[in-house]
């Protein structure tokens, strides 16, 4: 044990979970799309424009807002979006 060539691993010793991408939507017909505003400046304008372009496609749009961009989204918000939408667009960065 007093061997100078043995080192103790300073890392988390874990590999991040490989997450599978959700299956892509084949069409937007009857789809519900969530638009998530992370509370960064101009996020609203960006998502307004997305909503305007989605409207003629017959898409149901739901709007969501994160309390602050500096923290990860609350678990309830993530679950709500997952349960209410088929897809989500996030207005990331400014």
């Amino acid at each position: 044990m007093a061997n100078d060539r043995i080192l103790l691993d300073p890392t988390a010793e874990s590999k991040p979970t490989e997450r599978q991408l959700q299956a892509r939507l084949q069409s937007l017909d009857d789809a519900t799309v969530g638009l998530l505003d992370i509370s960064k400046p101009r996020g609203k304008e960006f998502l307004d424009e997305i909503e305007r372009q989605l409207a003629p496609l017959g898409v149901t749009v739901r709007r969501y807002t994160k309390p602050t961009f500096t923290r990860t989204a609350p678990r309830e918000l993530i679950q709500r979006i997952a349960s209410e939408c088929d897809a989500v667009v996030e207005g990331l960065a400014d």
Partner: protein, 484 residues
């Protein structure tokens, strides 16, 4: 005692005058007790001369496992090998009582203290613990190939911030852990950005990497706990494109006991505690949290303080409130505070001779934090140098007087900050046009004293533009230690 004693152990060392002195008593005991006495010698298996049952304890296993602190130590055991009693050094009546030999060492002086056991020599104890006490670490053990340079191996595995690290051997980590009384397996919290549970042992490994001494470890642990306070928002701070990173400020007795620098060049290089405590926090976030620059850490430019940004406050003037006192702690508390900040903006004022003039100077410089036309956005730390503090104090000003003067100086009408004013598009939104604004939100400006006693150079550490509840606030954490 002697009626129940079944056998005796005597631990000695040749290089001990008391052990030499008691030789006649040892010979007497050996003759009386025969095989019931075993002598363990720490440095010379031929000592004591003339005694047959000497066991070689140069590896100190027996001494360590029996927690020997002094030689000679005489221990009595019962028939079930349970220790009944022990006596340390030479104490004639105690040896006589323990062995039931009323004439033992009659010609010797009644008392002579012993010497330190080799098993408790400085730096030995942890080595013996690793060898004989089956210390178990939770962390995976990595054994680089013989052909690998051990320093390079640490770089290769991605454990470094770009500077060399101290290889975290089990011995070094065990010594680090001994700097605190916390259980190595206990959890400190989840380290962002990957929110990985972090044990005290993992923190110790990273403190070794950073170059910390075990004495610094309680301060490192407190800095990690501070970073994990929700109000500090470490996750967002790490991810931001902005410059900011944790600035670590230490108050209280511990800062002086571990030799931190609060004076000349306090924010510069050259002090091991300042340099390595701040670095330990950064390395932990990198290695355990997974916060890699260019990965989750998206800083546009970053700042050199992301290697380490740590200093102590100069608390030499007892009637000038410290940062920890501002945060509700006592002067006798040891406290670490974390601020999301970057860089250093000098305030050079060598001509002010009144507190009003100096406060105006400081306020004018503080207006540039983040942007001269952005108000109540970023927090700041004002570092008052000792010469400037002296000027305030000589005129009867307290820190609170300075804070009030700065507040008044930093008020402005929103109309002067609107986009376009001054030929600058940046500025405050139109809705503030008719409002009075202060440069800093409530509790957004912190005042700390540090620096050498020569030079009328104060400074600003400007903060992250996401301040307050929507981002980061200055947080403080009590440093818990039995040693201070």
């Amino acid at each position: 005692m002697s009626t129940r004693a079944n056998r005796f152990s005597l631990i000695v060392k040749q290089d001990c005058p008391t052990c030499q002195l008691v030789l006649p008593a040892v010979h007497q005991l050996a003759a009386e007790l025969g095989e019931s006495l075993v002598v363990y010698c720490q440095d010379d298996p031929t000592f004591p001369p003339g005694v047959e049952a000497v066991k070689d304890d140069r590896k100190l296993e027996y001494s360590f496992l029996n927690r020997i602190e002094t030689v000679p130590t005489l221990i009595a055991f019962d028939a079930r090998d349970r220790e009944l009693a022990r006596t340390e050094g030479w104490d004639r009546s105690a040896w006589q009582a323990l062995t039931g030999q009323p004439s033992l060492g009659e010609k010797l002086p009644p008392f002579k203290p012993g010497c330190g056991s080799k098993s408790v020599a400085p730096g030995i104890e942890e080595q013996l613990a690793l060898r004989f006490a089956e210390v178990r670490f939770q962390a995976r053990q990595v054994e680089p190939a013989e052909s690998e340079d051990i320093m390079e191996a640490c770089f290769e595995r991605g454990w470094s911030d770009g500077l060399p690290v101290v290889p975290p051997t089990p011995l070094r980590v065990l010594r680090m852990l001994r700097g605190s009384d916390r259980d190595p397996g206990s959890l400190i919290g989840d380290i962002p950005p990957n929110n990985v549970p972090c044990s005290v042992e993992k923190a110790a490994i990273n403190a070794v990497l950073a170059g910390c001494k075990p004495d610094y470890f309680p301060t490192v642990l407190a800095s990690i706990e501070a970073a994990l306070q929700d109000a500090f928002c470490m996750h967002g701070l790490l991810c931001t494109t902005y410059f900011s990173a944790p600035v670590v400020i230490v108050n209280g007795p511990v800062s002086r006991q571990i030799g931190m620098n609060s004076g000349v060049n306090a924010l510069g290089q050259g002090n091991r505690a300042n340099a390595t405590i701040g670095r330990a926090l950064q390395l932990l976030i990198r290695n355990v949290g997974g916060g890699l620059p260019g990965g989750i850490d998206r800083a546009t430019l970053g700042n050199p303080g992301k290697y380490t940004y740590c200093f102590a406050e100069d608390e030499s003037e007892v009637d000038w409130q410290s940062l920890a006192q501002d945060r509700g702690f006592e002067r006798s508390d040891s406290v670490v505070s974390l601020f999301a900040g970057e860089g250093l903006q000098p305030i050079m004022d060598q001509l002010s001779r009144s507190p009003e003039s100096l406060a105006r100077s400081m306020a004018a410089s503080l207006r540039s934090v983040a942007h001269v036309k952005r108000y109540s956005m970023a927090d700041a730390i004002l570092i008052v140098c000792p010469e400037h503090r002296r000027l305030f104090k000589d005129h009867g000003w307290s820190k609170e007087d300075l804070r009030r003067a700065l507040f008044d100086e930093l008020m402005i009408s929103g109309a002067q900050l609107l986009p376009g004013v001054g030929g600058m598009a940046e500025g405050m939104p139109e809705k503030f046009k008719d409002k009075l604004l202060n440069k800093f939100r409530d509790d957004g400006l912190h005042i700390v004293t540090a620096g050498g006693t020569a030079g009328m150079f104060s400074a600003i550490i400007s903060g992250w533009v996401a301040a307050g509840e929507r981002g980061s606030q200055l947080v403080s954490q009590l440093i818990k230690s039995n040693h201070y």
